[in-house]
């Protein structure tokens, strides 16, 4: 259940960034979560509901961008959609791949007032 640590870090970032912008309310938060970020979405949602209580994010609208996996084959340079980390390159069948999208886990933006 490392998702709770993830949510706590998000609250921390939101607090710091909103005070830097001299804002007291965060209306919306936009978060990128890649499918290989090791965050389980159901656990994340559950942790979110509990953890944001009595914080600056309690009433904030949360927008999550789920980012799909993309890889580049180091053997034939093909770029392709990656569903599982262990998938082979669909062009040459090699497992020599580099994940180029899907590892994201970041706070993208806030809308504050």
């Amino acid at each position: 259940m490392h998702e709770l640590s993830v949510v706590m870090s998000i609250i921390d970032i939101a607090q710091k960034e909103s005070s830097k912008a001299n804002a007291s309310i965060i209306d919306e938060i936009e978060i990128d979560i890649g499918c290989f970020s090791t965050v389980e979405i159901d656990a994340f949602e559950f942790a979110w509901q509990q953890a944001v209580k009595e914080t600056i994010l309690e009433t904030t609208v949360k927008k999550v961008n789920h980012i799909k996996g993309k890889a580049k084959c180091l053997n034939c340079s093909a770029e392709f959609a990656l569903e599982n980390i262990y998938d082979a390159c669909p062009v040459c069948g090699e497992h020599l791949i580099d994940i180029i999208e899907g590892k994201e886990l970041r706070v993208k933006s806030l809308i504050v007032s």
């Binding site: 921390d12 960034e17 290989f36 980390i85 262990y86 497992h95 970041r106 504050v112």
Partner: protein
């Protein structure tokens, strides 16, 4: 600047006014959620590099033999290398007691309800340890193949341990840990005749997840393969710089 209320003096370019009269602004944050952990991990890494300490993060499911491998290693290489150990467990100091019995410097971290070590815990553990120059620091993570994958501790290498009493599809079921590790140790190979564990299959599965992963097969009980692990360790220790 707004003539009505005087707002808009903030020249920070990552603030954009969205709805002027409600004073809503967009703040472009673009910050990694684990930013704080990663900063502390880099701080740990800098400390280790400055003292030429080889820090290794040992991860596995509970019961794969992390502590047994350490006990054996600490005793066998006692006269050749200098070691220290950080033990991570939810509760008890049982593992630290076992390491202490080998006369190695050890600190126990109890994570309480936590399922992983993070860079902050390691930072504080290291502060109290007075690590010696040119040594090896083993950080034995909480037995868990999922959560610790996410947290950089500042280690040089991550070593994932799997034992032959587990399933040979484990690398596929828990790919993140195998993806983020540099060495995989397959432990308890003395039990291979008694269990339906296909060692070639597990190696192929691990390589599917991470083509750069090195693999060493060994048994802490029979001692088979330990030499490979010891050679790997010695190869990673940098010769101390001569001032």
């Amino acid at each position: 600047m707004c003539a009505t209320c005087g707002c808009g003096t903030d020249d920070s370019h990552d603030l954009k006014e969205l709805d002027h009269h409600h004073h809503k602004k967009i703040v472009d944050v673009e910050k990694d959620v684990l930013h704080e952990n990663n900063l502390l991990a880099q701080r740990n890494r800098g400390y280790f590099e400055a003292k030429n300490i080889l820090a290794l993060n040992l991860v596995s499911s509970p019961g794969s033999g992390k502590t047994s491998l350490l006990e054996r290693t600490l005793i066998d290489l006692k006269n050749e290398l200098d070691f220290a150990v950080i033990e991570g467990d939810q509760q008890t100091s049982n593992d630290a007691d076992r390491i202490h019995a080998t006369e190695t410097k050890v600190t126990q971290i109890n994570t309480g309800k936590g399922c992983h070590l993070d860079a902050h815990m390691v930072l504080h553990a290291v502060q109290g340890m007075k690590l010696t120059q040119n040594s090896i620091l083993f950080i034995e993570n909480v037995g868990n193949l999922i959560c610790p994958a996410m947290f950089d501790l500042g280690e040089k290498e991550r070593v994932v341990i799997i034992s032959v009493t587990e399933g040979d599809d484990k690398p596929l079921k828990y790919p993140d840990m195998f993806y983020s590790s540099t060495l995989c140790i397959i432990n308890k190979i003395d039990l291979l005749p008694y269990v339906p564990f296909d060692i070639e299959k597990v190696k192929a599965n691990a390589k599917k997840v991470n083509h750069k992963l090195e693999i060493i097969e060994l048994s802490c009980t029979s001692g088979e393969g330990l030499e490979l692990w010891y050679n790997w360790l010695k190869s990673k220790v940098l010769a101390p710089e001569i001032a």
